[in-house]
């Protein structure tokens, strides 16, 4: 599962890393990042999708 955050769209609401902390992490300014290289195991698909579905900016894509 391929997960990506568009840094131009991310405004640091923090929904992704609070809802799906094993998929997303925060930085010093509160912006979201995908943990690791952006490839997450299928077991984390629901969590990744949950993070994407609650991003107010629509900055997250999850592709199978």
């Amino acid at each position: 599962v391929r997960v990506a955050i568009d840094p131009a769209k991310c405004m640091g609401h923090g929904m992704c890393y609070s809802l799906a902390p094993s998929v997303f992490t925060d930085d010093d300014e509160g912006y979201g990042h995908v943990a690791g290289d952006g490839e997450v195991p299928p077991a984390q698909f629901d969590e990744a999708r949950n993070g994407a579905a609650n991003c107010p900016e629509g900055a997250i894509t999850v592709d199978v």
């Binding site: 609401h13 890393y17 609070s18 509160g30 107010p56 629509g58």
Partner: protein
């Protein structure tokens, strides 16, 4: 279509005081509505268009009405100036910086709630929601908690001044308000000098210790302090008041979070979706703009109505229902785009801690019979004047 075809709503006449869901519902049919001071954007996609395009929909001109004597850093600025302020300020309000405050705030909430359990009733607004955010502000600024009541007087005066902005009559109350605002201004100026000379480990000292070229001037620092007072105190108070009112009126929903406190973050987001405390985000167009198929001339005032956008059926099924199990909740109660609420992480922590500590101790409560919680209206922000709660017998542990 021309502007003539737009529906008009007299927002002053909306049934906001006792039926705010109905009030928002009256505005949700058309994406763009004509209102007293310009246009209202009400659908989620239109709000998104506006808040994501600060070059056309400017904040700089939108906040002129406040006539602030200090620069309103950073809300009354557009990129690239705004970008600079955000880059400087954001690290002080990120989750990893805010998180360490949590145990202290949790303890403070407990101390606020305990006396209420014994009494069995309270005005939640005056006794809890009004005092806790101020204590958080004092904690952040390294100020003694016994300044709480003084700050309540000051911030009410400043907020009333900005609420009255644009009115020309200088009556006695306005003069007294001006006097109080001046006192706060003087206090903050002196505090800034003190913290520059003898920094503590508080957030204000840290912001003031930023090295050039990013260092803030005294004027900018005062403006920032004023913004904390204007944007960070009553907003949390109002959001908590609304949330607790809905929980008091909906025992089934309340029991969900009492039985499963891990649901509280989702519940908090849903309550925020329904009741953004700062539901009107003003912008002024810098050029002719097309919004929802209508052409708006340059200089048009267009306000995003967040509470209506959060009830857009396209994105939120059954938008007027309280549902703590929404799989998708992309509400914009903290705004969106470059001006996303700087204090959102702090506000969320304050609210979550309050909901957790309250329901741990007081699972059963209701609106005190014979009392009615009313929204002050018309006003630039919305909130309850009072919320009288009676704790159900046997509820306290």
């Amino acid at each position: 279509l021309t502007a003539d075809a737009l529906p008009k709503v007299s927002t002053d006449d909306l049934p906001m005081p006792e039926a705010r869901d109905d009030a928002w519902h009256q505005m949700d049919e058309h994406p763009l509505v004509e209102v007293e001071d310009g246009y209202a954007a009400t659908h989620r996609d239109v709000v998104e268009q506006i808040l994501k395009d600060p070059s056309v929909f400017s904040s700089k001109r939108a906040f002129d009405v406040l006539a602030s004597p200090v620069p309103m850093v950073p809300i009354a600025f557009d990129p690239p100036e705004q970008t600079r302020y955000r880059r400087i300020l954001q690290p002080f309000f990120s989750p990893r910086v805010i998180k360490p405050l949590e145990p202290d705030l949790r303890k403070q909430v407990g101390e606020i709630i305990e006396p209420i359990i014994e009494r069995g009733e309270c005005d939640f607004i005056a006794e809890v929601a009004a005092v806790f955010p101020i204590q958080v502000f004092l904690t952040l600024f390294g100020l003694p908690l016994d300044m709480r009541d003084q700050f309540i007087v000051w911030k009410d005066a400043v907020l009333n001044l900005s609420a009255a902005a644009g009115q020309t009559s200088v009556d006695e109350a306005a003069q007294e308000g001006m006097q109080k605002a001046l006192e706060l201004f003087t206090y903050l100026s002196e505090l800034i000098q003190k913290r520059r000379g003898d920094p503590g480990d508080d957030v204000l000292s840290q912001v003031l210790s930023i090295e050039p070229p990013d260092a803030l001037s005294d004027e900018e620092a005062i403006g920032l302090c004023f913004l904390f007072v204007l944007a960070g105190l009553d907003t949390v108070m109002d959001a908590l008041g609304f949330g607790m009112q809905r929980l008091a009126e909906n025992p089934e929903r309340r029991r969900e979070i009492v039985n499963d406190p891990s649901l509280i973050p989702a519940a908090m987001e849903e309550l925020l979706r329904l009741d953004p405390p700062a539901p009107f985000i003003p912008r002024v167009t810098t050029a002719e703009a097309t919004v929802a198929g209508h052409t708006l001339p340059e200089g048009s005032r267009i306000t995003s109505y967040l509470a209506v956008a959060n009830r857009d059926e396209e994105m939120f099924p059954n938008p007027y229902e309280i549902d703590f199990h929404r799989t998708e909740n992309r509400h914009v109660s903290f705004g969106m785009g470059v001006h996303r609420c700087l204090g959102s992480h702090l506000a969320r922590m304050e609210m979550q801690v309050l909901y957790e500590e309250w329901h741990k101790r007081i699972p059963d409560y209701r609106i005190t019979p014979g009392t009615t919680a009313r929204v002050h209206w018309p006003r630039g922000t919305v909130g309850l004047d009072s919320l009288h709660l009676t704790i159900q017998a046997g509820g306290a542990t």
